[in-house]
Amino acid sequence: MSVKERDPLTGHQTTGHEWNGITELNTRVPRAIWWFIGITHVWALIMWLLLPAWPLITTYTKGLLGIDQTQLVAAEVEAGDRYRAHWVARFDAESLDEIRADETLMEIVRGAAPALWGDNCAVCHATGGTGGPGFPNLVDAAWIWGGSDEAVLETLRVGINSQHPETRFGQMLAFGETGILSRDEVRTVASYVQSLSGLADPPAEVVEPGAALFAENCTSCHGESGEGMTELGAPNLTDDAWIYGGESATLFETIHDGRQGWMPAWEGRLTGAERKMLALYVLDILPEGE
């Protein structure tokens, strides 16, 4: 094996392999590579000392700097809270009306609420608050559990039919499923309900029995005239706002199978200040875009 052979032109050694007189240069590894290897090794040695690095049998080397990411993030979150503390405290202390009166606080709402809304609320109630089938429109005039400051804040806090111990509870009974009404009766009362908001104009032979069925089964929650009761979360049936829809087929489904919407409780996931911002966003800022 002639490893030591040198190429006369470059002065480099050859590998000693030869194919029909062609030999292969064994060029030296460039100095820059050696530098790179040297520096990275020294860097690694320093980091092994400073940072958590080597696993031992039941523990690991903690590093001279004592860095722990869980403490770093706790400090960062705390610093963020401090940065916001001056206005978070005011949101905590003041009522929605007092916040509305202060343009600097409302500017903060305008800045922060869209992100909160986008991550937590928009998936159901849509970016513009217009909702969708099964998810109420929050920018129209109709409120199921009330549209006052207190009512909206409370709904945000405990949710509706949620897992919160103080949750608002509401249920549309399954009148058909449970046998309270026959399928024909469900159809009759559905037509009557459509007539309340002018969606349909059924003949008198439908309206009369419909009204009777309505008086018997529905008024305890939706009221004598069908205008609903916000304290029970029973929607107004005389306006043109529908959660699930006012078409005959949807109404049949609603009355026959019942409904029980679910709004998550946000206490625990969002702070009080964040919930106030969202209430203001829903009540004041979103309707502006309408």
Binding site: I57, V73, V77, G80, V123, Q163, W262, M263
Partner: protein, 266 residues
């Protein structure tokens, strides 16, 4: 300048010259034997593995204690298998990192103990969609069903594919007891009763008024979600299973109590 630096480098490595020469000459010789080289590579890699990976099985101070941790119910476990089958993890992570923006958006960062019974873990690193580590209870069942059925019905700008078939297909419960048994083999503490009643418990979880719901609560705890997740009557569909799974994410452990118990800072 380079000349001077090179001289410094040479002086620095001078004491190790003999060592380097031995190593390099040995390596140079080894390179000529492909089998020998392959064998040496395996040995070098094996040392790295032994040093880096093996101690992870004996170091337990990096994992918090959570004696009250809940187990996935059989139906949630089926949902988890569907989550894996449909490749949800390729777009959604389940790992809130120790960064302020992630803690602000999604809640407390993920603890190691929260995935101690995940086989395999689904931390992921690709986030085309949002992280799901704490999505449990954040949205309603009806929303999850509508969203999985056709995401753009509820989120107009979503790029997520539709998973309509989940609502049509019955959840596969046939080998559920065997699946739990397998999980027990790798360390998930399912009891004999839980394994034996796996199918019954899966059926019970979508039927809150059914006779078997009591047994499910007895075996998996008061906090178990027992609901008709997809709103359809009858046996659990794949939609029921995956929504049950999504609604438990982040709920197996109460992170707040975890921190006080192990004395860590929030």
């Amino acid at each position: 300048m380079w000349g001077k630096l090179n001289r410094i480098l040479e002086r620095l490595v001078a004491p190790f010259r003999a060592l380097f020469h031995t190593i390099f000459r040995g390596h140079y010789r080894l390179e000529r034997y492909s089998l020998g080289l392959a064998f040496a590579i395996i040995i070098a890699g094996g040392i790295g593995g032994a040093v880096e990976i093996a101690p992870l099985f004996t170091i337990d101070e990096t994992v918090e204690e959570a004696p009250d941790m809940r187990l996935y119910t059989p139906l949630e476990q089926v949902g988890r298998d569907i989550y894996i089958r449909e490749g949800c993890y390729t777009c959604h992570s389940q790992m809130i990192r120790t960064l302020r923006d992630e803690v602000d958006r999604w809640g407390p960062y993920s603890r190691a103990v929260e995935s101690q019974y995940d086989h395999p873990m689904l931390w992921g690193s690709k986030r085309t969609g949002p992280d799901l580590a704490r999505v449990g209870g954040k949205y309603s069942d009806a929303w999850h069903v509508a969203h999985l059925y056709y995401p753009r019905d509820v989120v107009a700008e979503s790029v997520m594919p539709a998973y309509r078939w989940l609502a049509r297909r019955n959840a596969d419960l046939d080998d559920l007891s065997a699946r739990l048994e397998t999980l027990r083999t790798v360390g998930v503490p399912y009891t004999d009763a839980q394994i034996e009643n796996a199918v019954s418990d899966a059926l019970a979880q979508v039927n809150p008024d059914g006779a078997r719901a009591g047994g499910l609560i007895e075996r998996y705890g008061e906090a178990t979600n027992i609901r008709n997740f997809d709103g359809q009557p009858g046996n659990p569909t794949e939609m029921d299973a995956i929504v049950a799974y999504l609604q438990i994410l982040g709920k197996l452990v109460d992170v707040e109590t975890l921190d006080t118990e192990s004395g860590q800072q929030e």
